[in-house]
Symmetry: C2
Subunit: 152 residues, 2 copies
């Protein structure tokens, strides 16, 4: 087994022992009309500002916007797919919504390690989402990473 | 226009002027296999613990679980559909994940008004999710409600 293999859990996520403060990863996803329709279905959130163009066009948003929690879910993907990656378990997620996201916008979620609690197998992450470089969500997460020590 | 009509915005959500501390509403949704598959698609979060039974069965969860942010999205539905209801805009949402949710579980999201900032058109809500009476998510939200004063 190579050194690199040693440094990954079985699904190739980072173990808590290999995280360092400042490590950063991004995951991007274009939010489409279909995503908004499907998110309304899975969440039960059929707010007219997401699903009724005639209503939404008369609001301060001048048209339909994506659900805030849909954009925020791209953070979940960045954590699960990238950093710490597969095997990570969510403990907390705080979200501040800064600007609306519309169908066609590409949400870039960026997660950065800000604090590591080795004994508790936990890491604190700064979690941000951007559209064309502008912040749309800010916040932070606390997650439980996998651990080589726990596996052995 | 009846007194009741006066007390609702055009989409029948509560105006900030009509909120009172202690007001509570719930919205429930059964999380199905289909919801988990669709949420993986809209979020981009294909974590094996949600989509790979062979992997998930060997984890501490002993089987696939729903995405944390999928369960949390039912809170968004409770806010948008019930309290304050249509027209509400999310400002912040803090989430603490307490226990896993599985396909077939019915998530009951409960939101309660804990603080009102009339001049800023904002309300703080306690936001909780339960499965069979047990808490699976705790947290709070800050939202901007509609306002009769602003409309007139």
């Amino acid at each position: 087994m190579s050194q690199k293999d040693n440094k990954m859990n079985e699904m190739t996520g980072y173990d808590i022992e290999d995280l360092e403060i400042g490590m950063t990863a991004t995951f991007s996803k274009t939010i489409t009309e279909a995503d908004i329709v499907l998110f309304a279905g899975v969440s039960g959130d059929n707010n007219a500002v997401h699903t009724n163009e005639e209503f939404a066009s008369k609001t301060i948003f001048h048209g339909r916007i994506a659900h805030c929690m849909l954009s925020a879910s791209v953070i979940s993907a960045a954590i699960a797919n990238k950093l710490p990656g597969p095997g990570t378990i969510y403990i907390t997620q705080n979200l501040r919504f800064k600007a609306p996201v519309r169908a066609g916008d590409t949400v870039r979620a960026q997660v950065s390690v800000t604090e590591i609690f080795l004994d508790k197998q936990r890491a604190r992450l700064r979690t941000e989402c951007f559209v064309k470089g502008e912040p749309v969500i800010e916040g932070e997460a606390l997650v439980r990473a996998t651990s080589r020590k726990s596996r052995s």
